[in-house]
């Protein structure tokens, strides 16, 4: 499904290399987790895959179902089925959350040649999915993420994911800032979306999220490379011993 080969990325503004050759394949139906020290390049990878400005790909490829992602505009990647739940969700004053969701859903439908959802149909679906994430009517009315608590922002990301039903979901530290109950809500939201055709890439620092969302594969990223991959036990090892040993061992 998602296939990344030898991906090297520099910052556009400075002469600094962030990703130094990333290889990673997420198969349909699988959950891959990425862990790694602060600044190792996890968010950069998620941004480059979703098409954010400011990075230069110097080498390598990234494809989704065989289609070159790196050549597309961000909105085309989204329409192709890629979704990123942001580490820092963006506030958009003046744009209502509901308007935002509907614009996004209909833009993607349009890009795929489907009819737009009627206002009534849309409302029904949103209400149901919002309820499962304990997002109330007020949060749907307010401007996107403005004045939302950290946890509310993260739940709002999952609501967007649930509405857009992407093929490939990347979650960047969706667990950070969540209390125990919210973590459960978010994990339930993610698990509800798990299906044969859908892949997940879950970036996290903590084992706790992975207790709820069971990964098939865990990768350790350090200094712009995946230095080790393994099963769920790798996350436990990180939880107990930190990264120092793994990094030293693979250096």
């Amino acid at each position: 499904m998602l296939e990344i080969k030898g991906l090297k990325v520099d910052l556009e503004e400075e002469d600094k290399s962030i990703l130094k050759g990333v290889d990673l394949t997420v198969e349909p139906g699988k959950v891959h987790a990425i862990m790694g020290p602060n600044g190792s390049g996890k968010s950069t990878l998620s941004y480059v895959l979703s098409g954010k400005d400011g990075y230069t790909v110097t080498d390598g490829t990234a494809t989704l179902d065989g289609v070159d992602l790196l050549d597309m505009d961000p909105e085309e990647r989204a329409a192709a089925g890629l979704f990123l739940a942001f580490q820092y969700p963006v506030e958009i004053p003046g744009v209502g959350n509901m308007t935002f969701l509907r614009t996004a859903v209909n833009a993607q439908r349009k890009a795929r040649g489907q009819d737009e959802l009627s206002a009534g149909d849309f409302l029904k679906v949103v209400r149901e999915k919002a309820k499962a994430l304990k997002i109330d009517a007020d949060m749907l009315k307010r401007p996107v993420n403005v004045g939302f608590s950290g946890g509310e922002k993260k739940r709002n990301e999952i609501l967007q994911m649930a509405m857009l039903e992407p093929k490939m979901c990347i979650l960047d530290e969706t667990d950070s800032g969540l209390d125990v109950d919210a973590m459960k809500l978010v994990a339930d939201g993610v698990n509800a979306l798990r299906s044969e055709g859908r892949g997940f890439l879950v970036i996290t620092h903590y084992q706790r999220l992975l207790d709820h969302i069971k990964p098939d594969v865990v990768h350790i990223m350090s200094d712009g490379r995946i230095i080790k991959s393994g099963g769920p036990e790798l996350a436990l090892e990180v939880e107990h011993n930190g990264y120092t040993d793994i990094v030293a061992e693979e250096a």
């Binding site: 909105e75 329409a79 942001f86 963006v90 958009i92 003046g94």
Partner: protein, 427 residues
């Protein structure tokens, strides 16, 4: 003090082509005297530093193409009294009967020649008072020469809004309109204005809002590209009264909207707001506002938003003057521009002058580009860049549109703006 020769000559040249009408001759004579004393402005005058008045001063109006009519008129589905002016001349055929419960409506010429004393008393009065501390010679010129316009008095809560519709047919029309509005104590009314008015259009509105009364004003200045428009709104607001004015401007070679508000009674509210969108070097839009607080516990808001691209120019000059004794004043002023490229410019002069000690006044002026982070966020959800830009642009304008109390009226303007943005592609 004698005027500089260039100014005196320019003023004389402009007046040469005009003759003083014979109604309310005292008011007109004194207005004419004000014009001669002040002289028409040139761009070295402080108040006209950002907007060159040359094309407003010159005797002949520059020609302005009349755009083809397309689509239904604005607010077509709103039940309203339509009063139509074609090139600045009242057109009875295209207008509705000048009748609505709660309102007394008359053509200006009728009001000034008949014995409608409130209209005669008001004519030129607020304009004359609004000449201090800043000269507004074009407004005095309008008072001296205008014969067209309406006089509207609200005696109760008006049953429906009055819509002044300014249609254009000629490329050279240079009309002056003068409108008088009196809202009786406890009465309420809405005045809508639509259309560009002329190749060069001068409009003065004098509004007297009585105690506990409410006046709502929503204006759309058409979409003509070449027209030049200069408006003045002079308002006096009595105790517990409400004054709210909103203006939408799209396109236009030159627009200057001056609004002079005098808050004279306690616990009153005055809001003035505007949104404008301009594309190209031949777009110049100026909002010049002067709000005076001369009473206790009053609130004023100025909310102005401008979207500029391709070398367009936006100007904001806004002042809040709080007189001694006007305690508990809550004054707010914000002027912001969104630059959709690097070529446009926004010139702002926000001012506060406060002589009372127990007040809360704030002002801010910003000029910025579209928020790239928000843009990427929208794109990452599948919204195409152009559509995302338009959505963020409308969001930027939203705060000013929120000043319109009636949602139906506001929604129609929002649609106009969305349409404009759709037609004017950004990168």
């Amino acid at each position: 003090m004698a005027l500089p020769k260039v100014k005196a000559d320019a003023t004389e040249a402009r007046l040469a082509g005009l003759t003083l009408p014979d109604t309310v001759s005292d008011a007109r004579q004194s207005a004419l005297a004000r014009v001669s004393a002040m002289g028409l402005p040139h761009n070295r005058d402080e108040y006209w530093r950002f907007t060159n008045p040359r094309t407003l001063v010159q005797p002949e109006a520059p020609l302005a193409e009349v755009p083809a009519v397309d689509g239904a008129p604005l607010w077509d589905d709103v039940d309203r009294v339509r009063i139509v002016f074609v090139d600045g001349v009242f057109n009875a055929e295209r207008s509705d009967d000048l009748k609505a419960a709660g309102l007394e409506i008359a053509q200006l010429s009728d009001a000034l020649s008949a014995d409608i004393s409130w209209a005669k008393d008001l004519y030129g009065t607020l304009e004359a008072r609004g000449q201090k501390p800043v000269d507004r010679p074009f407004a005095a010129l309008n008072t001296a020469m205008a014969t067209e316009g309406v006089a509207i008095r609200a005696t109760a809560k008006a049953e429906k809004p009055v819509n002044l519709i300014y249609e254009r047919e000629s490329q050279s029309a240079d009309p002056l309109l003068h409108t008088l509005i009196k809202v009786d104590s406890g009465a309420e009314m809405t005045v809508l204005e639509t259309g560009a008015g002329g190749a060069r259009f001068s409009s003065v509105i004098e509004v007297d809002v009585g105690e506990g009364g409410a006046f709502h004003h929503v204006r759309d200045q058409g979409r003509d590209h070449e027209r030049r428009v200069l408006t003045h709104c002079f308002a006096q607001v009595a105790a517990k009264a409400t004054f709210k004015s909103f203006t939408l401007s799209v396109n236009g070679a030159l627009t200057r909207n001056e609004c002079v508000i005098d808050i004279r009674g306690d616990d009153a509210i005055a809001h003035v707001a505007g949104a404008c969108v301009g594309d190209g070097k031949d777009f110049h839009h100026d909002d010049t506002i002067f709000v005076t607080h001369d009473a206790v516990n009053c609130e004023s808001r100025q909310v102005f938003k401008k979207v500029l691209r391709n070398g367009a120019t936006g100007v904001f000059q806004g002042k809040i003057l709080v007189k001694a004794g006007a305690q508990k004043t809550d004054g707010y002023q914000i002027s912001q521009s969104l630059m959709l490229d690097d070529d446009s410019q926004f010139l702002a002069k926000p001012e506060l002058e406060i002589y009372a000690d127990d007040v809360a006044c704030s002002h801010g002026s910003t000029s910025g580009a579209i928020d790239e982070t928000a843009l990427f966020y929208l794109q990452s959800r599948g919204v195409p860049r152009k559509q995302a830009t338009d959505l963020l642009t409308l969001a930027f304008l939203a705060e000013s549109l929120q000043e319109i109390e009636d949602d139906t009226l506001a929604e129609a303007l929002r649609d106009r703006l969305a349409g404009w943005l759709e037609r004017h592609a950004t990168v």
